[in-house]
Symmetry: C2
Subunit: 248 residues, 2 copies
Amino acid sequence: MSHQRDRASTRNAQTGPSGLDLPDLPEATVARLPEYLRALHGLAETGLDVVSSEELAGAAGVNSAKLRKDLSYLRSSGTRGVGYDVASLIAKIEYVLGLSQHRTVALVGVGNLGHALAGYAGFESRGFHIAALFDADPRRVGERIGGLRVHHVDELPLVVAQERISIAVIATPAQAAQSVADALVACGVTSILNFAPKVLNVPDNVDVRKVDLAIELQILSFHEHRKASLTALPSTLGGVLGQEAYGS
Amino acid sequence: MSHQRDRASTRNAQTGPSGLDLPDLPEATVARLPEYLRALHGLAETGLDVVSSEELAGAAGVNSAKLRKDLSYLRSSGTRGVGYDVASLIAKIEYVLGLSQHRTVALVGVGNLGHALAGYAGFESRGFHIAALFDADPRRVGERIGGLRVHHVDELPLVVAQERISIAVIATPAQAAQSVADALVACGVTSILNFAPKVLNVPDNVDVRKVDLAIELQILSFHEHRKASLTALPSTLGGVLGQEAYGS
DNA sequence: CACGATTTGTGCATGCCTTCACAAATGCCT
DNA sequence: AGGCATTTGTGAAGGCATGCACAAATCGTG
């Protein structure tokens, strides 16, 4: 994951009059909560109703102390000697992540990738409803994908307001991404997930997360390169460092 | 981004016998190099041949001091008072990332998302060649996508060896991901990009990077939630601590 | 050749994140 | 009822990353 811009930890812990009660979460913790949530759902399906930090941490692939500290930020309600109640922990994390209210998502750019995202079942199953599709190409407008009609981007303001869109996904080519982002911001959208390989310029109050597939591969490539150059080292080199050629 | 397991910074700075010379890069730096690379390519297209850290940092969306420090790890060859030579910086970053040698990629799972990834032009254009497609569904085997035939996963060992695959992409449903990963590891694959919403269990020498679309949305959802609860606060509230019902 | 403008490379301070290790709390068993 | 095993919650230490601020280096110009 990778963030576009690093953000400080989330300020404000006031108890609002609306009953809201958002604690002050470090950004690193926020990024892990969804992982915990998924692990919890998995455990819930197996019928488990109480889980220890050790088990849950294992399922989520993190250190158990880290998990406990993360949960402690949620005014966590684990029971010492026992563990965490699965159902109530799920509820708490979902609340904190704002998933209690169903979020509607707009998807801009129904090309190759956009098509796949529009049909991706993983969104609906995890609390997100793709409510509108957009494209700039007139030939695409009107097309139906998974029960949704593709709108022209010019209709953004109208549809965003109508459907109460809270999050937008940009899956356009790089050169279109910035203008789409501008249009979204103008419509009042304050959360963007950007798949276009381009750094977006947005006001401070707008959150952008970026997913760049090529970058992920390049990072892996680096490690491949490094591993390769290590194993290419002559065996005379005392294998002190991690990668001994043929471990027992 | 998001990593599956945090890794310490990259050890080893020996000059290998093969003329390799990989410096000791912090993981955070590695994650940013691809971004710099893309910015550089963009600048190169505009005909620019020297760039200052300030300009490049702007294009990549980072602090200029951070950029300079990152580049300094590459035994960087900037020129004081002038800037960085675009062409040679591109070459150096591509070398360090291991992009000099073309990397061949295998893609497992040609469902909804896999299909899109197989056709994604962004890979080829950035040094990655998708060389083989796999699926477990016999009905999909034999299908041709973008000039490639879909193999059955049982053929993994054969094809991986034949095509000298160095990186694999998993785009299967969650429940298939672990067994696919096991098969890949058994074939000697040591770098995996995982799109399945499942924490993979792999040996230490295997690198896994994870891209989970729902998680990205959930992180955005959190910030939406938070922003919404902030604007809902009454202006009278001067509350300092968490639990005061209605401060003085 | 010397000077001033520019820009890199980096020491340092600060803050965040991770992890260990342990006290506090809980439930069970005798 | 008391003690023991278990597990949470957290204080504290260490490591990593960020960003400022400045010295060192280079170029162009007179």
